[in-house]
């Protein structure tokens, strides 16, 4: 009798969870559909200027036609490549610099003010210098994507290295471990969660770097399309590029989230 009652209570609990999820998803869909509908209606009824704000139908048409003719895919590929490259270089570079800082306390002390300045400085302001130094090709755009996340990665990862419980190191030292062995066995794996969380931040940052880079010089890529659309006053093109950026940034974010789940499962 009581057992049935327990089961029933559990079932009720599961039902409330399901119900809650349904409510949240319906609201999310409602906001999306409502926004698109409102946009379309306001554009058709000239509440907003369709020349500037376009309309969902037009944006959709631009995306379909440019994808079918192949040009959009090229731009998309280039931007994705640059973003992923910038993201990887920035993240890995940041972790390597943090490791160097950890390996020598004195080096870290010496570098401290420079890191503070580099971190505080808006990295996109370096754009023109990068272009002059590295040319107008992919290299400067990828560098832009990397440079924007490398410093923050360095700072976050370095502080994570320092926050590892010193007793883990104590255990290793009592076994006669060298500093490098301590790093490999304790410091690096213990700082894993912090490194994984920087991945998520870096996805967003490297998109910023790459799009700004493309604004400045590119002849290809979604950032270029936005600027080009703006110059020829084709706002459907601008908005369709924006939609693609939003979709692919979200996909990349979700992939990194998956990776995070996988890494946490296999490293803790």
């Amino acid at each position: 009798m009581t057992k049935n009652n327990d089961k029933q209570l559990f079932q009720e609990y599961k039902d409330t969870l399901k119900m809650e999820k349904k409510v949240v998803i319906s609201w999310q869909l409602a906001i999306l559909v409502g926004f698109i509908a409102l946009w379309e209606i306001s554009s058709r009824l000239y509440w907003i200027d369709p020349l500037i704000f376009s309309s969902p139908v037009q944006v959709f048409e631009v995306i379909i036609s440019s994808i079918s003719e192949g040009s959009m895919l090229l731009h998309l590929q280039i931007t994705l490549f640059e973003t992923i490259a910038g993201f990887l270089i920035g993240t890995i570079g940041g972790i390597i610099i943090a490791t160097l800082l950890w390996s020598s306390k004195r080096f870290a002390k010496i570098m401290d003010p420079y890191l503070v300045i580099l971190n505080a400085m808006p990295k996109v302001a370096l754009g023109p210098i990068l272009i002059v130094a590295l040319g107008t090709g992919y290299i400067s755009i990828i560098t832009m994507g990397a440079i924007i996340c490398v410093i923050i990665t360095t700072l976050v990862v370095y502080s994570a290295f320092n926050e590892v419980d010193p007793n883990y190191e104590k255990v290793l030292i009592s076994f006669g471990a060298t500093r490098w062995q301590s790093f490999k066995e304790a410091i690096f794996p213990a700082a894993m969660p912090a490194m994984i969380s920087t991945l998520k931040v870096n996805v967003g940052l490297s998109w910023v770097g790459v799009i700004v880079g493309e604004f400045l010089v590119a002849k290809n890529g979604l950032g270029y399309l936005i600027i080009y659309g703006f110059q020829v006053f084709d706002f459907s093109l601008v908005l369709s590029s924006l939609v693609l950026i939003a979709v692919f940034a979200a996909i990349m974010y979700k992939l990194v989230e998956r990776l995070e789940g996988w890494l946490i499962k296999h490293s803790t």
């Binding site: 104590k170 290793l172 009592s174 076994f175 006669g176 066995e185 794996p189 213990a190 803790t268």
Partner: protein, 271 residues
Amino acid sequence: MSFLQLAHVSHHYFSKKGYTKALDDVSFSIREGEFIALLGPSGCGKSTILSIIAGIMEQTSGNVLLQDKPIRDSEMAIGYMLQQDYLFPWKTIIDNVLLGPKISKTLGNDSRKLANELLNEVGLPGVAENYPSSLSGGMRQRVALVRTLINDPKILLLDEPFSALDYQTKLKLEDLVAQLLKTYNKTTILVTHDIGEAIAMSDKIFIMDANPGTIAKTFEVPIELRNETPFFVRRHPKYQILFDKIWKELDTEENEPVTAKVVASSDDQEQ
């Protein structure tokens, strides 16, 4: 002949604001296979002594000799067990246990076999592939003990290793550790603030005084108690007598005036 000897060891902790004298002229010696306990209030430098012997810190003056040679030159393994187990949560139990051999690059089938034997001996068969998070506090501390023993340390340093456990687990673990250490004839230094634990486990008890840390008094544990397991020592008639003596000693110590702990650096500037 003394196995481990501390001769006039002093230690200071420095900070920007001043310095603290943690140990002042501490001297004692231990015979091979002896089990000694350092007992005293918190902040008396008990853990500092262990850190110095373990080579994690260097004393500011004095010598630590192992078989009449400076301990830093010695190749002999020292096992250090901390208050918490500090098992690495991202490593399996077997990988945690094999950390010592891995660090000293002696990892092989022999050490794997020994690891499994030792895990069996402490009553933990079949947990090798588990992660520490799936074990209870007592089990984890037993794994930490195995991780220490696998390196065959000549000296074992126990820094309140039972203090984070519940009472029952603690008593059981005391028996296990005492029996294991006796079997392998390990020289051991136990740091504790639990009088009962000190009497139950050790051969000799050093009472420490704080501010700065010194050895105030030494108690020999009667031979009848030494041969018992810790659980039965607590029921022995002589246990209570020694307990009361130590209690009185610690009590009088506590009533002495406490001097300022941190020496202000302004004194130095005036000189």
